[in-house]
Every structure is written in structure tokens, then in C-alpha cells.
């Protein structure tokens, strides 16, 4: 999201300066989330697994977190001591993800100025501790790099928390907390069992905590380089929280990406991003909530119900094992509790401007104003549509998605130090079904001629087709069966470099020289055909068609691009009827432009320097595909991080998809035309 970044950039200077002054351990550049982690959604720290045991190495250390009102707060937390984090400070601690039945080993090293420890509420049976020294609630790691090791078996799946068990009135408030997720045996997409199955790409963690900056400041001074005399005191009975956090951040920082460079010590975002459920998208999203603070929080999915399926790592069941889950639009999560929610979002009204408009006309945009001239509204009340906004209004909306606040309804907590719409809140974003989509903006022929239709035919799978014939020219004179040089009327549209094939009557020739000119050096009788004579004026046809569709306005940071192409090939190059193709079926390869290869010039042709950027879309389905005279529809999924497919600079926001279709085998190469019906991309907006 862009507009908070400006304020965030101004804050970053403050954070860096304070951190430098404090001389804290840990770098400011190492990432605190694993490589390849999603930008939105829960991030797992997998630890190291070996023979049924999963080991985590944690270090308790101190650092600073950033608040949206420009404050930097001194915090104690756990960090991942292993690569790639190497102890980089983070609040909250790493999300420890384990599988049911694993033996979990947590090694803790303490660099804090007090003894500390970890307790694991909800883990039954022994949490054995070795090393360390006995404390009141558990075994502790001493000051000065003291260590302790905890061992337990993750017996039951669910959402759990871990936190300090030492001097908890102070240390838990200071930030020593994190999440522990246990996945059911063999099913990473079940919360507990088959009845709590969720969409694994829609898994969210909201860890709630609270900050009294006065307590943190008193501890910071007391353990600083020059503690005041007399030493600062703090009465925990006078605790007054002023910052209220989700995953260690306050709104609007909660909606920034995981691993945002704006928040180097607070790696976890809290944006909940879903798409409507439907017959083709059945699985709900899973929201794991944890409250580590000392306050209970009435959490509110504004405008929606969420279904609570579990508390404290135990599913809500009837005594006979039936479903006892309940739906809520306001559910208090108590201090120390975890609660799991499934969120199904069904568009039961299916309003759309074309054939099911709202019964009430939306207000004219000229009559609408927005606070601070800023909004998340798209200008259209229809999901998936954008409309007109008054001049001068900045919108965060990307593709007509809807936003709901997801927040503590203790409204003093929905603030940053009493400034409204901050604190313990995030956004629930409902993207249009299938994700954001962009219409085809343009089409370019890089190898072929337009038979009929226009680019608008590609916008829907209907009866309108964008029809391309292979490029043709003619011989300027008769051809005998042996000559190896021929002249053609025009070379335009044929590749300007590299060997390529052309067909004259039933013979295939290979053009090996003179590309780009009208005099070609040719090899005769290629691909199993026989060299023959041809009359003057005979048509010389390319054996392939190449055209690409261009999309614009794709935001930087868009992820999970999916390309859908529906089309067919017909045996005719004229007329309006698609004649059948049953043998020698054309081979189709759909490619996408990777702008990082050979720069912006890499996706303008199919031969020569302009061709370097095209990469074949990854299976499934595998390519090339044989596509005959019936529509074949294929969807390819690109990897989550899709930055290289979105243009920058002068090609900013552009995506290009190339359809290459070739038909050549012995013994009678016959004409064909490519008929494109639908070209679509969808993506998850940042």
C-alpha cells in the first residue's frame, strides 16, 4: 500500500538513528523472514528437522520497534539465531511451525540483562528443560549468554503461543512472545482435521499484544549505558497501554508486506486477503488469533462473521465429536488465549452493473468527498469494478477490491497513542473472484497477418475471435526443383535473423540467409517434404503465427500471476467458418515476457535481439500443446513472486503474453489460421 510509505520513510530515519545510538546487537540489513516467504499471510520458521525431531535456536535480545506516530520503543524479544536471520532482532518472535508428533527442541540463549525463559501454554505433558536454573514457573536461562533447552512432543495440532515464564508482569509486557503452530499429521491444509480444512494460500496469523511505552522506557533507562540515579522505577499496577499491536505492528503498518524494508524489526504483516468462495473456490481462509497481552480484546471482523473453530489449540466439539463451532462478529479473545477462525466469504447477491445492479443508484461522484482526499474506495460500489473519483482524491484501490477493517472494538485500542484509526487493526481485503484481472489493452503481430477480428475479441470467451494467418508473401518468379536462392515480393513480417521455415505449395524450405531482405538463401525439401517446381506468384507462407497480448496497469508487487488463454486453430485462411483440423494438429506454445532478460527490448519480436525475453509458461499444462479446431483453454500459474513479469521504467506495469503456433510436418504441410478467443491474466494485488 503506497500512501503510508511516505510517512514511513520519514520515520525510518528516526528508527535508524535511535538504533545506532543504542548500539544494539544485530544488523539492520538481514532479512528476518525466510527467502521465498509470501508477502501476505503467515510466515513459518521451520527450524531444522531431522529424524522426527525439529530444533529451533532462539536468542533473547533487545531492539527497537517502530510505531506509526514516529515513536521507537525499546522491546525485548526472541530472535532466530540460525541463518539467514542470525539473531536479527524481531518482534514478535519467530512463528515456530512444527508437525504433530514431532519432538520439538528449543534452545534459548539469553543476551538480556535479566534471566529469562520460555513457557509453552497448552503443551500437555512434560516440557523438559535441561541446563539453566530453576525459576518460579519454569527453568530459566541466566544473564550473560546463559542457555536452557526445552523439549516437548507436539502432541496436538493447533495454534499456541510461547512467552517468557520469568518475571512475567514485566517480561511479557516487554515483548517476549511468539506463536507456535502445530500442523496435523500429513495434512498441512487442515487446522485440526478434515472438517477444518482451509486454503493453504490463505492462512493468517494475528498475534495481539500491548505496549505501555512508559514501562519500556523505564526498563530502557535502567539498563542503559548510564542509568539515572536513583534508578527509574515502574509500578506495574499503573500499567497504561498506549500502543496496541497485531504481529508487533500498529495500523497502518499492519497492512504492509511481510519483511517490509520499512519495518526491519517487525517482519510480520497482518493483512488478511481473500477472494469470494464459490463452487470453484470452496475452501475458507484460516485466521489464527493469539492474545499475548495482559488485556482482553473484543475483536471485530467489521461487516462479516467469522467462525470460531477452536480455542487454545482444542477444536470446539460436542461431547460426541460433532461440530460446536460458532459464528461471531464480536468475540473477546482473552489474555493468553488462542482462537482459530475460518472465514468463508460468499457473494450471495452477485451485484454487477451489467445485469444485476444495486436497487439504489450510487451517489454521483461529484457529490462525494473523502476525508483527507484519500480513500480505499475504487469509485464503483461493485466488487471488481473501478469507477470515477472526484479530482484530487488519492485511492489505494487496485482493481475494485473491497476493504473491511478487522480490529479491536475497544476503540481506544484502535488508535496510535490516541490518534484514531490506528493501533490494533488491520484490513480484510476481498479481491474480486479469481483475483484482480486486467483487460487486454493491445495485441501485436510479430509473425503473421490479421485475418479478421480485433483485440477486443480476446476479452471474453465467446463467439468473437482474433484470427491470425501465418505471414505470406509471393515468389516473384517461377521456382525449379533445385535452386537455392529465391526472391520474394516482401520480407516484412518474417524473422530478420535466424533460420526459419516457409512453405511453398507442399514443399517446406529453410531460409538460411538473406533474412530481412527479399532475396533468400534456402534449403530445399525440408521436414520430410520433397523439393518441387512452383509457378511464379506462388504463395510463400511462414509455418508459424506469433502474436502477443499486452496488459497495462499491473501494480508493482502483484503476485501469483495466472495466465489463461483460450483459442483454437482452423484449417482455413479465408472465410468465416472454422474448418476442421484433425491431423497434423498445430503445436501451440504460450510464453510470457520476462523483462529482466535483455531489458525492455526483449519482448518485441520472436527472432533476433527482440526475442530474448520470452519464457515459456511453466507446466502444467506442459507445452507445446496440440490445439485443433476446438477451443482449448489453459491456465498457467507463475511463481508467487512475479516481479520479473511486470515491466518497469518505460514499460511500467506492462505484462506481455505471446502465443506461438506452428504447423509443419510431412508430407503435405497445409495452411492454418490461429483463432484466439480469450486472453486473461489475474493476480493477487499487493
Amino acid at each position: 500500500m503506497s500512501s503510508p510509505r511516505i510517512r514511513a520513510l520519514l520515520r525510518l530515519g528516526v528508527v535508524a538513528a535511535v538504533a545506532a545510538a543504542a548500539g544494539l546487537a544485530g544488523t539492520t540489513s538481514a532479512s528476518a523472514i525466510p527467502a521465498g516467504a509470501p508477502k501476505v499471510g503467515m510466515v513459518c520458521e521451520p527450524g531444522t528437522a531431522s529424524a522426527g525431531t525439529r530444533t529451533f535456536n532462539l536468542v533473547a535480545n533487545a531492539g527497537y520497534i517502530s510505531t506509526p506516530d514516529g515513536n521507537a520503543v525499546y522491546v525485548w524479544s526472541y530472535a532466530n539465531a540460525d541463518a539467514p536471520d542470525n539473531g536479527h532482532f524481531q518482534e514478535p518472535g519467530p512463528v515456530l511451525c512444527v508437525n504433530q508428533g514431532e519432538n520439538v527442541v528449543v534452545n534459548l540463549r539469553n543476551t538480556l540483562p535479566e534471566a529469562t525463559s520460555i513457557v509453552f501454554p497448552g503443551q500437555e505433558g512434560a516440557v523438559a528443560a535441561s541446563g539453566g536454573s530453576a525459576g518460579l514457573l519454569t527453568t530459566e536461562a541466566a544473564v550473560g549468554n546463559g542457555t536452557v533447552t526445552y523439549r516437548f512432543t507436539a502432541g496436538s495440532p493447533g495454534t499456541y503461543l510461547y512467552e517468557s515464564g520469568t518475571d512475567v508482569s514485566k517480561q511479557v509486557e516487554m515483548g517476549l512472545e511468539g506463536a507456535l503452530v502445530v500442523r496435523p499429521t500429513g495434512h498441512a491444509d487442515y487446522a485440526y482435521d478434515a472438517s477444518t480444512r482451509f486454503d493453504p494460500s490463505r492462512e493468517y496469523l494475528l498475534l495481539l499484544s500491548d505496549i505501555d511505552p512508559d514501562l519500556h522506557h523505564a526498563v530502557e533507562l535502567a539498563y542503559g549505558a548510564t542509568p539515572p540515579s536513583p534508578p527509574p522505577g515502574y509500578d506495574v499496577n499503573s500499567l497504561r497501554n498506549r500502543y496496541f499491536s497485531i504481529n508487533g505492528r500498529e495500523f497502518p503498518d499492519t497492512i504492509q508486506d511481510n519483511g517490509s524494508s520499512l519495518l526491519p524489526n517487525q517482519p510480520y504483516g497482518a493483512l488478511v486477503r481473500i477472494q469470494p468462495n464459490s463452487s470453484s473456490n470452496q475452501l475458507p481462509s484460516l485466521i489464527r488469533m493469539i492474545n499475548v497481552g495482559a488485556l482482553n480484546h473484543p475483536f471485530h471482523p467489521h461487516g462479516n462473521h467469522t467462525r470460531q473453530i477452536a480455542q487454545d489449540g482444542r477444536p470446539l466439539r460436542t461431547p460426541t465429536g460433532g461440530d460446536a463451532s460458532t459464528e461471531h462478529f464480536g468475540e473477546t479473545i482473552g489474555a493468553g488465549q488462542t482462537q482459530d477462525f475460518l472465514l468463508r466469504w460468499d457473494d450471495t447477491d452477485n451485484f454487477n452493473p451489467a445485469n444485476n445492479p444495486y436497487p439504489v443508484a450510487p451517489p454521483n461522484y461529484l457529490n462525494v468527498t473523502f476525508k483527507d482526499n484519500s480513500t480505499w474506495y475504487s469509485g464503483s460500489p461493485y466488487l471488481g469494478y473501478k469507477g470515477t473519483l472526484p479530482t484530487g482524491v488519492t485511492t489505494q484501490n487496485i482493481c475494485g477490491e473491497w476493504y473491511f477493517p478487522l480490529h479491536s472494538h475497544a476503540l481506544n485500542e484502535f488508535t496510535n497513542y490516541d490518534q484514531g484509526f490506528g493501533g490494533m487493526g488491520t484490513l480484510l481485503r476481498v479481491d474480486p473472484a479469481g483475483g484482480c484481472s486486467a483487460p487486454v489493452a493491445s495485441a501485436a503481430l510479430v509473425g503473421g497477418t490479421l485475418k479478421s477480428g480485433s483485440v477486443s475479441a480476446l476479452s471474453a470467451a465467446d463467439t468473437a475471435y482474433y484470427q491470425i494467418n501465418p505471414k505470406t508473401t509471393t515468389r516473384t518468379s517461377a521456382t525449379n526443383a533445385t535452386q537455392t536462392s529465391i526472391t520474394v515480393a516482401s520480407a516484412s513480417g518474417f524473422p530478420t535473423s535466424g533460420t526459419y521455415y516457409v512453405r511453398v505449395d507442399n514443399e517446406v524450405m529453410a531460409v538460411t540467409g538473406g533474412q530481412g531482405t527479399t532475396t533468400w538463401t534456402v534449403g530445399r525439401g525440408q521436414l520430410g517434404t520433397t523439393a518441387a517446381t512452383h509457378s511464379s506468384g506462388a504463395a510463400v507462407s511462414a509455418l508459424a503465427t506469433d502474436w502477443y497480448a499486452g496488459f497495462t496497469g499491473i501494480p508493482a508487487g502483484a503476485q501469483s500471476l495466472k495466465v489463461t488463454y483460450t483459442g483454437k486453430n482452423c484449417a482455413t485462411t479465408t472465410g468465416t467458418t472454422c474448418t476442421a483440423l484433425t491431423t497434423n494438429v498445430p503445436q501451440q506454445t504460450v510464453r510470457i515476457c520476462d523483462w529482466t532478460i535483455a531489458g525492455a527490448t526483449g519482448c518485441t519480436a520472436v527472432a533476433g535481439p527482440g526475442a530474448a525475453g520470452w519464457v515459456t509458461l511453466p507446466a502444467p499444462p506442459a507445452q507445446p500443446q496440440g490445439v485443433g479446431s476446438s477451443d482449448v483453454s489453459s491456465t498457467w500459474n507463475l511463481p508467487v513472486n512475479a516481479a520479473q513479469y511486470i515491466g518497469t521504467g518505460s514499460s511500467k506495469g506492462q505484462v506481455r503474453v505471446l502465443v506461438h503456433t506452428q504447423r509443419w510436418t510431412a508430407s503435405s504441410p497445409t495452411p492454418f489460421s490461429t483463432w484466439g478467443n480469450l486472453m486473461k491474466i489475474v493476480y493477487d494485488a499487493p
Binding site: P113, E114, A115, V119, P121, G122, Q123, E124, G125, A126, V127, A128, A129, A134, G135, L136, L137, T138, T139, G165, T166, D167, V168, S169, K170, V172, E173, L215, A218, V219, L221, A222, Y223, P227, P231, P232, G233, Y234, D235, V236, N237, S238, A294, L295, N296, Q311, D312, G313, R314, L316, R317, T318, P319, A324, T332, G334, A335, G336, Q337, T338
Partner: protein, 335 residues
């Protein structure tokens, strides 16, 4: 038998066995059928020792040795635990020996309240020097909180509250009639809080500035809280009643507590939990089965307030640069 309290094995030289039960006037032997019962209580001034040697003035219920003779009644924090059987017709006689207030509009009238219990028609209040007899039928088993609602909450904050247990008819050893509520060991846990500055001047204190600094289980703060003793495999019934002003989230570490009842109603779908919010004025019943594995510490399995009220008294002189001495709403379950 010390009904309802685990044997508090001394964990340090300062730990005490908390709460001595009053005798026959309050507790009758458990009987299988409903019977008429008479309970005598006095509302009197007294003193509570919160931890170590910290004493505060309180107002509390106490049981007289003879009916109406409040000179023999000692205020306890919380008040005596009352136990009756389902179906019993209870006559609760309360004598008000609170001092006459010097500050209007306070009247120190005791107003008997037991949420969830329907009283027979009749008066429920007693002015200082007076008395009142409240009658009811204990028709539903469960855990209840009895208190005085007088003086707009000041009497409750001074300590006038205690627990009433109604045992299910024909279901000895269970919290409710339904299966799944059986127990081997029973532990009442009356949660509360004290602001000593308020207790010193209950009539004139400005309640907007009420700041509790002592957090109590059965009138005691750690390390003086009584532990709960149970052997491996035994089912421990934790009867929570929150006589304080604030919600308390009670976390049981190393075990699960299954919530079998809330507000004296058995739950149809009892959830298994780690932490439960006990709302101010509410009661809740959970069953925790003692594991055979070792607890996280030699003290046992910790049961504590996750709102982190784990200190005793104001901490104004506590340096932020050192650990706080542990206290407050913490106890342990142990073998």
C-alpha cells in the same frame, strides 16, 4: 475433611493453610435428598492479612458461633464457603454489624445478592444493627457468588462476598447432573483484588482513582496462596468465582482445563482450554486432570492470572532494572 481445599503443603516458611472452614452452622454433611437448611452469617468489620505482614481493614461475612451472636463472628476474605444440596430450602439469616456511616448518602445497608438464585418474596436488605432473612430453594447445582451490593459497590470492594456451592441431587462427586463433571479433588477459587488506600477510607475514597495493588485467590496472594494437591490421574474441579472488579484470565500451564459450567449452568459442549476469562461477578467450573508427567517446575503446575497481576502491593520503589518479586494471583497444582 477439609472439603474443597487442597492440602496446602508448606512451600516456604511463610506459606499458610488458607481459610479454615466454619463449623456446623455453615456446612452440613452432604446428604442425598433435599432438606431445609439454615445458614447464619454476620457482616462485620475485620482485618485481612494479604501477604506476609500486610494487613488491611475489610468488611466481610463471618459465621457466628451461635445464631445472631455476631461478637463471635470473624470477617473473612472471602466470606465462608456455603455448601447446600440441590433442592434444599435454604434460610439465609444475615445480621448487619457494619459501623453506621458518617457520610451521606452511604448507608452501609447490606443488600444480599446471589446472581442465578431466585429468592422467595421478601426483604433482602438489612441496615446496620438490623438483620434480614432471605429464603430460597437451591434448585440448580453449580457455583454461585454471594455478596452484598450495598453502597454502590463499595461493600463488595471491601470484601463482602463469598462462594455458594449447590451440589447436584443424586450425583455425588459431580459438579452437575451430567456426566463429565465428576471430580476427585475440589478447589474453590474466589478471585479478588484490594486497593489498600480504598480499604483505609471506604466511605470517602474517590472510586475514580481506585487502583488495586493486591490480587488474590481465596483472599491470599502468592506466596501465601494455598496450593491444590492431587495425584496423577485425579480430576480436579476448579470452581472459579470472581469477586473482584475486573476480568481475570486464568492460565493453567502444562495442563488443560475443560470448562464444564459457566454461571452455574452446565455446558452442553464443554471446551478444553488453557486460559479462561472469568468475568467480574461471574462463576465458572473447569475440570483439569492431573498428568503423570513432571510439572514445569518443582512448585507444580502453575495456575495464574494472565493479566499479569503477579506482584504484591505498589511497585513504586521497584527499580525497573531488576526482576519484580513474584506475588499476586498465582498458585500451583501439585501431587
Amino acid at each position: 475433611m477439609a472439603l474443597g481445599f487442597g492440602n496446602a503443603r508448606p512451600r516456604s516458611v511463610r506459606s499458610l493453610l488458607v481459610l479454615v472452614l466454619a463449623t456446623a452452622g455453615v456446612m452440613a454433611a452432604s446428604s442425598a435428598s433435599a432438606a431445609p437448611r439454615t445458614i447464619e452469617l454476620c457482616a462485620v468489620s475485620g482485618t485481612a492479612t494479604l501477604t506476609g505482614s500486610t494487613q488491611v481493614p475489610i468488611w466481610g461475612f463471618g459465621a457466628p458461633a451461635a445464631a445472631g451472636d455476631c461478637s463471635t463472628a470473624t470477617a473473612s476474605l472471602p466470606g465462608p464457603q456455603l455448601v447446600v444440596d440441590q433442592g434444599d430450602t435454604v434460610t439465609l439469616h444475615v445480621v448487619n454489624r457494619l459501623p453506621v456511616p458518617a457520610v451521606a448518602p452511604l448507608d452501609h445497608t447490606v443488600r444480599v445478592e446471589i446472581p442465578g438464585i431466585t429468592f422467595d418474596p421478601g426483604p433482602t436488605t438489612a441496615a446496620p444493627g438490623g438483620d434480614v432473612t432471605v429464603a430460597f430453594t437451591a434448585s440448580a447445582p453449580g457455583t454461585y457468588l454471594y455478596s452484598s451490593g450495598g453502597d454502590a459497590g463499595r461493600q463488595l470492594a471491601m470484601g463482602l462476598a463469598g462462594m455458594l456451592v449447590v451440589r447436584p441431587a443424586g450425583a455425588a462427586g459431580q459438579a452437575y447432573a451430567g456426566a463429565g463433571t465428576a471430580f476427585d479433588v475440589e478447589a474453590p477459587l474466589v478471585l479478588g483484588a484490594v486497593d489498600p488506600a480504598f480499604n483505609a477510607a471506604p466511605d470517602t475514597f474517590n472510586l475514580h482513582t481506585y487502583t488495586a495493588t493486591y490480587w488474590l485467590i481465596n483472599g491470599k496472594a502468592y506466596p501465601d496462596t494455598a496450593g491444590i494437591t492431587a495425584a496423577a490421574g485425579q480430576r480436579v474441579l476448579l470452581r472459579y468465582a470472581n469477586a473482584g472488579f475486573d476480568n481475570s484470565s486464568m492460565l493453567l500451564l502444562g495442563m488443560h482445563q475443560q470448562v464444564v459450567g459457566r454461571s452455574a449452568r452446565q455446558l452442553a459442549n464443554p471446551p478444553s482450554t488453557t486460559t479462561e476469562i472469568i468475568a467480574a461477578g461471574a462463576t465458572e467450573d473447569t475440570v483439569a486432570v492431573m498428568p503423570s508427567t513432571a510439572p514445569p517446575t518443582t512448585h507444580g503446575f502453575p495456575l495464574y492470572d494472565q493479566q499479569l497481576h503477579l506482584t504484591n502491593g505498589p511497585q513504586t520503589s521497584a527499580p525497573a532494572g531488576s526482576p519484580l518479586p513474584p506475588g499476586g494471583m498465582l498458585t500451583f497444582l501439585h501431587g
